[in-house]
Symmetry: none
Amino acid sequence: MASSKLRIASNIKNEELINLRRQELVNAAVKLFVEKGFHKTTVREIAKEFGMSMGALYDYIRTKEDILFLVCDHIFKSVSDKLQVSMVGEKDAKEKLRNAIRDYFIIIDSIQDYTLLLYQETKSLNRKDRNYVLSAEMELTKIFENIIAQGIKEKTFNIDKRTAKIVANNIMVQGQMWAFRRWVAQKNYSLNNYIKIQTDLIINSIS
Amino acid sequence: MASSKLRIASNIKNEELINLRRQELVNAAVKLFVEKGFHKTTVREIAKEFGMSMGALYDYIRTKEDILFLVCDHIFKSVSDKLQVSMVGEKDAKEKLRNAIRDYFIIIDSIQDYTLLLYQETKSLNRKDRNYVLSAEMELTKIFENIIAQGIKEKTFNIDKRTAKIVANNIMVQGQMWAFRRWVAQKNYSLNNYIKIQTDLIINSIS
Amino acid sequence: MASSKLRIASNIKNEELINLRRQELVNAAVKLFVEKGFHKTTVREIAKEFGMSMGALYDYIRTKEDILFLVCDHIFKSVSDKLQVSMVGEKDAKEKLRNAIRDYFIIIDSIQDYTLLLYQETKSLNRKDRNYVLSAEMELTKIFENIIAQGIKEKTFNIDKRTAKIVANNIMVQGQMWAFRRWVAQKNYSLNNYIKIQTDLIINSIS
Amino acid sequence: MASSKLRIASNIKNEELINLRRQELVNAAVKLFVEKGFHKTTVREIAKEFGMSMGALYDYIRTKEDILFLVCDHIFKSVSDKLQVSMVGEKDAKEKLRNAIRDYFIIIDSIQDYTLLLYQETKSLNRKDRNYVLSAEMELTKIFENIIAQGIKEKTFNIDKRTAKIVANNIMVQGQMWAFRRWVAQKNYSLNNYIKIQTDLIINSIS
DNA sequence: TATGAATGAGACTTCATTCAT
DNA sequence: TATGAATGAAGTCTCATTCAT
């Protein structure tokens, strides 16, 4: 995954330095993008938050859009890495699904702002970068799909494979909903409440 | 509802003309916004598509953002009006819910591009206009919430009121998902399939 | 003097109507020019204050600058007419001068805003119109010059003719000063005070 | 005094460069403003005269009005500095006053165009900047007031303090008159003539 | 004669990107 | 390698003036 950053060209030769600086760059940019959106954030502002000159910044990227990709890539990997970690352990499918949903929703909650950013600015990426991010999203969805597939095989879940794919996607958007519809969701429910209600609904619908 | 347009000031005195031209303007702008997004569409391009001079365009609005509001308002009302119409008739709650979901998903399908636009560019509106759009969205959600509430009263649905609200929101995002995740959804399912599967899942989860 | 208005072409044939309407136009424009200055006042605003359509307004003038000329001309004539009136009667030169200064200062005071306008926006006129206004101003100055000349002949005033011209101009600018330096003048002196002090200084300097 | 320039924000970090470029900018702008007035001069023209791109120009200022302030500030300081310098030396009040008037009128003569500009465009400044310029003007007036006050104490001048303030203001406007009424003043008098006549009138009026 | 919608040139301003130092 | 001043294209918006009705 780390190699994804290399998709973006740089003047700098030292690869370690690139990665270190880009990490700092992402942190600076994310903060500003969350606050004001991609289009309304200027490269000057990013450079200032980054603590470097404009020239230096442009040693690590080629265009402003590169920064957005770096940011999206970073955000997505945060979710993916954390979720991957939580997935270990030998449990039955229902338990596994409950845990995965819980972990996923908790992750979303912890990076709400990033979630918003990820789904609102993706369209500003060029085709190639956008596809990269989308495919990353699909990998994530696959995690849920696989758990459900296991449950179907174990006869725990009583749906077909085609429905499983939709349920997996439903889980994804219901997670995002916690961030997107915060005015409704977070005003009326605690995160635990929300997780319990959604999980029960999902399990119920496929059992 | 028509009065919402009056939120936006105009140099033109003839109110009918304002409405006519704004309708044309919305049509022109929607097309471009869908293609390239709000920020990447220039007012000059809109004026050209609008078929009038820049000056004329600015006789009907005050700022570029006004155009976005007009567009969002228009899109939202399309959905709302159509859904409202489909809601008449005396059926039991389950039947009503099935029909409402079906109608809503069909509407979303018929204005996919607009849906995308509506949910991606809302954040570019100023606070006031954004709130206006959000509250309109909440009204829509309420429609589903009310049907479910009726089902609960009739003992058709076996959930509490707090869960009902979440289900209503789930329906909304699952509709939007048809547009947003078209690469997944529309590649793998026909609209009818999608509607059937999602409806069954929902009914199942609350019965 | 009335013919000065004819310097400006019009589509309208009825000359009386022209004069009537132009008077109204001047009143509308003066108010706005005083408030916001010539450049920051739009023709649309003038038309609105004027109570006519833009098309109608342009029947009475050719360009926006024409309005400024009409206004300057009007203001200047107000002063001139009033001063002319006050000049009648048989008095000795010193008495005459005292009275003329008094009358002039009182007039300036009564049209302070206009005075400001007249001297700040004149430069926005084209050469011809500006010269017209300037020559009108010189006529006014001549009034004072003539009184002083009379006093010199009567041996009341002990200066030469060349000095008289300067004194006349001094009187003019000291009058304007009441309007221009209002923060100093009107904060520290009543109009009567101011008139008395300035008149005494002037008389003293030439006796 | 130099700090007055800091009232205006800049993108440039090198403060010396700011001062240098702003000086160049003022020179370019003054020339154009004198020729055509503030409103009729475009930023593009200023940039061209400035010898830099529009973008570069806007690195040194925030708005077009800032340029006007810079210009007014510069002009005023030219007068103020020169007059301050001429003020040294131990002379009696009458001698001092004669010299101060002479120096002031000579300065005005040497920067006639600037004087015109200063007093015609001040109103285009925003409140804060306008007040800044006005208060600078009042400081200048104070110089004359103080000399006269000294003469009153020394019994050289036979007027009261309230009259002294008016005389000081008269001197200011009579200086400006040399520039404003150039068609009258400079056509009929040499500068030396003008100075002599005005000075004698003033001294006469207060002795 | 009156209306006011439409024109379109041009104004001010921003900002991603480059490059001399 | 780092700096940040400079570029210039492009953006949004205004408004004096015209002309079909």
